[in-house]
Symmetry: C2
């Protein structure tokens, strides 16, 4: 009984996600779902990304249990932003994203970034209608996290190791991360970045630019 | 319908949690449920705690989706440890803890530490039968997290700000954390600690010693 309820919730979510993807495709916009633990640097990376890509080309949907802190920061960075408060919800759902999308003017946009609720477990189970899934792992979280939170890393299209300016202070072993990834996900590139060091973001910008080949109608 | 299923799951969990608490009380053991984001330093703090309290007095139940990495570390620190793998589960349940407890010899123990799955949302909803709830927030996660993940901080009996050796490097504002806590939780003490600096752990040891007044039968 319980399982059936869960299955039907997932089926309903998937149907809405497909419709979201159709809306995004029609608008010629690339949607990237950013997922990670709390405090791994999603918002800071988006602030930098908005500035580098150009605020007019970016829109953001931000998920959080409560507060509009991230949305305020991203709005200040110049991007059209919608805050989605989930209350006690541990992840964004396709329905919440569908509602968020209705609040955005997608005409001139090239990217919609979806900042998921900070959580390394639950967001992995829910397609939002995104085209690409970016998973962030920050250096302070430790080099043992890929195998522990395998469901998230398994479905990543790109993995961003963030806060790499702290690698030496924190004795972080990138080789250990790569060894774990070899068993879980071999198709997603692993980019080493620090939002404090602009040059490290070039690989991310190049990836975005390449992934973002979506035709404007 | 959905809501009813969820309610009955929670009721069943609470009943098992109460039984866990009875078992722990009978054994004269204090149980502390440690909750936080991934990588905030739960395992490292427990390694230090085991060494300071004395390995023979400690037992640990460790929750993780996959791998036995944390259990191996805590076992190496000398404490009797049971790993609980949750698969895709985003939190420990009272039933998992009940099963874990049957694997422990509580006779000579004074503390059972329950290291929950790294997640700032879902563990907040599930009583495990613990006596005390310790919530960790690590400095690299940022000073804006208390209000964002309010459900977890609201129910904390003690809040541990960890990795405080990074406060200056990361420009972390403790006053902002305190301002948020004033609105959410005024009864839990906030301890500032770093597992790299033993003296900072004195307040935690004092708290444990005071909280741990559970009579051995």
């Amino acid at each position: 009984m319980k399982i059936r309820v869960v299955e039907s919730v997932l089926k309903a979510n998937d149907a809405v996600a497909q419709e979201n993807r159709r809306v995004l495709d029609d608008a010629g916009v690339l949607a990237v779902n950013l997922m990670s633990a709390p405090g791994s640097g999603k918002t800071t990376l988006l602030e930098k990304t908005i500035s580098l890509v150009g605020p007019d080309k970016c829109a953001v949907l931000v998920g959080d249990l409560q507060t509009s802190r991230d949305a305020e920061r991203l709005n200040a960075a110049g991007a059209e932003t919608v805050q989605i408060n989930t209350g006690k919800g541990c992840h964004l759902s396709a329905t919440q994203v569908a509602e968020g999308l209705t609040g955005l003017d997608l005409k001139e946009k090239r990217y919609v970034f979806i900042e998921n609720v900070g959580n390394m477990v639950c967001p992995a189970g829910f397609d939002l209608g995104e085209h690409q899934r970016a998973v962030l792992l920050s250096v302070p979280e430790g080099d043992d996290k890929v195998a522990k939170y395998w469901t998230l890393f398994q479905l990543a299209d790109i993995i961003l190791l963030t806060k790499t300016d702290l690698i030496e202070i924190l004795d972080f072993n990138i080789a250990a991360v790569k060894t774990d990834l070899e068993k879980i996900n071999t198709h997603a590139p692993l980019l080493e970045i620090s939002s404090r060091i602009d040059e490290t973001l070039e690989s991310w910008m190049a990836w975005l630019s390449q992934a973002g080949v979506v035709k404007k109608n």
